[in-house]
Symmetry: C2
Subunit: 163 residues, 2 copies
DNA sequence: TATTGTTATACTCTATAACTATA
DNA sequence: TATAGTTATAGAGTATAACAATA
């Protein structure tokens, strides 16, 4: 019985280590790719990754999004959304307005120029990723997509608990 | 033939989109987890993620590492390693020295306190990840580990080409 | 009172380039 | 000349909290 317990503890420890290993690998891979993507976005478009992310959210929503909703989707705090939106508005890529009766609400949406610019960015962005992932077959990518989604759901599930 | 070509182009486009989708999911998952890890490292240890990463590298190397080697492994530029190392040395977690005849070389290694502190950090870090990934079975984690490794190798492969 | 968003602040990271010392 | 690391600098991201306006 003692042996069983020891084995159980060791297996547990081993299993935890796999999770750490997975996390470190995800982190380093993401860092590797995002450093390259950031570099290219900056040199080719003068844009940052959070800006690209924000534009991508708006591109999916022709009617625009409230700043609070953008904050949730991009995981950028409310206070920092203000600055991001201000910079993009200065560049003429987005506009903000108060659409309804609730005067607290601000909605941001792409301008025509913003839509065109984002389309160009998205196109080359796609090419960059295709090049970087050239050695990974389609099946692996599909499998990964599903498995990472499971991880994300698990994380969300257990973060909301611990509030 | 035209149809075949169209299908090929469409499939190509679809495949590229899968890669983008995978990337965006990796990015958001990593962001979700690392925001939480960063928050906890900060509140419980007053440490940042790059600092934790640097300590982890040194923990694996009892004889310490050259700053240039740390730079490579952590993907932090040389100039920024200087500041990171300075902060950790102020905190007494690491020491630096010039071990050999080459007076240009600086090696950093953990102090006793650094080793103890990192051990505590690593232990809870492991627990955090175990909790967050509680819903992901062991097989999925192992599969992910291998597949993400393939992605990383592909990325490295195609980045070094385009220098 | 609660919600939406802004302002203020402090700190760290990130990237680049010029620079020093040494080999 | 090349290499190891430092310094300087600029900019952006990140987190927090206090705040104003509106509901």
């Amino acid at each position: 019985m003692v042996d069983d317990l020891e084995i159980a503890v060791r297996d547990q420890t081993e299993s935890n280590k796999q999770e750490v290993r997975l996390w470190l690998r995800m982190l380093s891979t993401t860092k590797l790719v995002s450093q390259e993507i950031r570099r290219r976005l900056r040199t080719e478009f003068g844009a940052t990754l959070p800006q690209f992310d924000l534009l991508a959210q708006l591109d999916r929503e022709p009617d625009g999004l409230r700043l609070g909703e953008i904050s949730k989707r991009t995981m950028v705090t409310n206070g920092n959304i203000t600055g991001l939106v201000a910079r993009l508005e200065e560049d003429g890529l987005i506009v903000t307005e108060t659409p309804g009766d609730d005067r607290r609400v601000t909605v941001a949406r792409l301008t025509e120029d913003g839509r065109r610019t984002f389309a160009r960015m998205a196109r080359v962005h796609e090419t960059w990723l295709h090049e970087m992932m050239a050695d990974v077959d389609h099946g692996t990518i599909t499998t990964l997509l599903g498995n990472i989604d499971r991880v994300q759901r698990s994380v969300r599930n257990h973060l909301s608990e611990g509030d």
